[in-house]
């Protein structure tokens, strides 16, 4: 009897979260109207969405058990690759953004050769050090990258034409916002497909028990490599989008610790082993930081991230979304509600 009751409650909660998610999506879609086309609000949420894609991409690697502190390498290479190709060769950003992703994947391959034999804290520390390689190269290869001065006046994203309809992306905050929202939704879908596929099962098995994973036929190193390449590729895409949206980059910024640490903060707060958690955390925490903590504490507003990560690790190690989803990522429907 009490078991049936508990199940009933879980069903109720499940429907509630579904309704809340649908409502959240509607709010995001209507945000420009709801905010009366406020440039400030739209810019904050555009950046929040970019950070959400960063957290989603980071989590593709993290679900296999490897914590990276070096994703700024992919972000920076994606940003610089796409920026230089479009600036120097005059290629459209629609072409250079995927190329930036591929360059980042190539850098992920190098990282794999150097770091992937390591595990846990050793892997994390090696990736943290790894960022210095592309950073130092970008900083000093003046002929190619203009060095530490950075790049200004990057081409924005060209507007899309659909018949007579003209969709402006870089020129208007609303256009930029919808562009990043679309990218975010596509990436979310891809992450869901990956996590729920056989590859997702394999990555989770590797995370939980590598020796057993190998013994049930999983090619541990190949799949760890694949998850790192996918993660690096999408992080590079996000970096390239950032370059063409902000239209100004410099090595200290795009290779900064910020872009390595922030996806980890969001993933851990939202729930590393969940599909949605990292993105949700980005969409909640970044606006919270910008709208509330930044005006209150202009110099030290980022303490918020430090505080939430400590609180999450102490009181909610599976993240808030992970907690709602009963602590573990369920890839397989069993007929009952998980």
């Amino acid at each position: 009897m009490s078991k049936a009751k508990a199940k009933n409650q879980r069903v109720k909660q499940f429907h509630l979260t579904k309704v809340a998610l649908a409502l959240g999506l509607v709010l995001l879609l209507l945000l420009p109207v709801l905010s009366h086309y406020s440039d400030y609000v739209l810019q904050v949420f555009t950046h929040a969405l970019l950070l959400a894609t960063l957290a989603l991409a980071w989590n593709i690697l993290s679900v296999s058990g490897s914590i990276s502190l070096g994703h700024a390498a992919f972000f920076g290479v994606g940003a610089y690759g796409s920026a230089l190709l479009s600036l120097d060769l005059g290629v459209s950003p629609w072409v250079t953004i995927p190329l930036g992703g591929l360059l980042a994947a190539a850098v992920a391959m190098i990282m794999a050769l150097l770091c992937l034999r390591l595990r846990s804290a050793y892997f994390a520390l090696a990736t943290l050090a790894f960022v210095e390689i592309p950073k130092v190269i970008t900083d000093n290869w003046n002929g190619l990258t203009r060095g530490s001065l950075g790049l200004v006046g990057l081409p924005g994203l060209p507007s899309l034409r659909l018949g007579s309809y003209h969709f402006d992306i870089s020129g208007s905050p609303t256009g930029s916002y919808y562009f990043v929202l679309c990218y975010g939704l596509v990436l979310l879908l891809l992450v869901a497909v990956i996590f729920r596929s056989n590859l997702g099962l394999a990555l989770q098995a590797i995370r939980e028990e590598e020796v057993a994973a190998e013994a049930v036929g999983i090619q541990v190193q190949q799949y760890r490599l694949l998850s790192l390449l996918l993660s690096g590729f999408f992080t590079g895409i996000t970096g390239a989008c950032y370059a063409h949206l902000v239209r100004y980059i410099e090595p200290g910024l795009v290779y900064g610790l910020h872009f390595s640490a922030i996806p980890m903060v969001f993933a851990i707060c939202g729930g590393r082993f969940t599909i949605l958690g990292p993105a949700l955390a980005a969409l909640v925490l970044y606006p919270l930081d910008q709208f509330i903590f930044h005006p209150l504490l202009p110099a030290g507003h980022e303490f918020l991230y430090g505080a939430v990560i400590i609180l999450a690790i102490l009181f909610m190690p599976s993240g808030f979304w992970g907690r709602l989803r009963k602590g573990h990522l369920v890839s397989i429907k069993t007929g009952s509600i998980e």
Partner: protein, 249 residues
């Protein structure tokens, strides 16, 4: 024709020979017990067969195919599964997911589609008596449940040869009895079994033949009765004095 054949298989850890020149073969459909005191090299032998460790010399043949230098996932796909001495569940994944993972990675599978073996996995959970724990995270199961989950996961790939490492260690007499039943049911599915059993509680009841190791060397092989009467085996298990009292004077 033998299903598994070991030829002069040796393994050295540092200066210590963990296994020395082991020759042995297992026929299709047999149940073989691998016995011997602690440190005899039983688990090392399993690790060599499954490719987790590389041998220093000697060869392993499975269905007449040389698998000595194959990687663990390749050996698994050829049809050898194993369980572990201390079970190694995928702790945060549900019992069902654990078994599904066992089903998926066989010879052919699609990396980016969803697993479809859910019914097979449920049947296996039923076989090992865990059908009421389908959604429980494997890490929350009791030790004996985790061992049975290990077994279900190993069976999931429909192996031809199953290596069981101490499945009944620490089991109550009743649980051992259930395990005996389970092993017989597994054999009825056409699976050949190689069972490490330090305390002999399982292997004496189900094995067709025993292989006894001591200090990395083969000391006896044959029917359970023969092996248990073997002087070397008695000495290995019970020590010199007991053996002297039995045979001395």
């Amino acid at each position: 024709m033998s299903l598994l054949r070991l030829e002069a298989l040796s393994k050295k850890f540092g200066d210590h020979w963990a296994l020395k020149e082991i020759d042995f073969s297992i026929g299709q459909g047999e149940i073989i017990g691998l016995v011997g005191p602690n440190g005899a090299g039983k688990t090392t032998l399993f690790n060599l067969i499954t490719g987790r460790h590389r041998s220093n010399s000697g060869r392993v043949f499975f269905a007449e195919e040389d698998i000595t230098s194959c990687r663990p996932h390749e050996i698994h796909r050829l049809g050898i599964s194993r369980t572990f001495q201390s079970s190694r569940p995928f702790a945060k994944m549900s019992a069902l997911e654990n078994v599904v993972v066992g089903c998926v990675f066989r010879a052919e599978f699609h990396l980016f589609t969803r697993a479809t073996d859910i019914d097979t996995a449920k049947q296996l959970l039923e076989l090992v008596g865990l059908s009421h724990k389908v959604v429980t995270p494997a890490g929350d199961l009791t030790l004996s449940e985790q061992r049975r989950l290990d077994l279900a996961r190993a069976l999931a790939s429909q192996p031809r040869l199953l290596l069981l490492d101490e499945v009944v260690a620490g089991f109550s007499p009743l649980a051992v009895k259930q395990a005996v039943e389970l092993v017989r049911r597994v054999r009825e599915r056409g699976v050949t079994l190689f069972i490490i059993d330090h305390f002999l509680s399982l292997s004496l009841r189900v094995s067709d033949r025993l292989l006894a190791l001591d200090h990395g060397e083969k000391v006896a092989e044959g029917s359970p009765q023969e092996v248990m009467r073997n002087r070397e085996v008695i000495r290995a298990y019970l020590g010199m004095r007991y053996e002297d009292e039995q045979h001395g004077a």
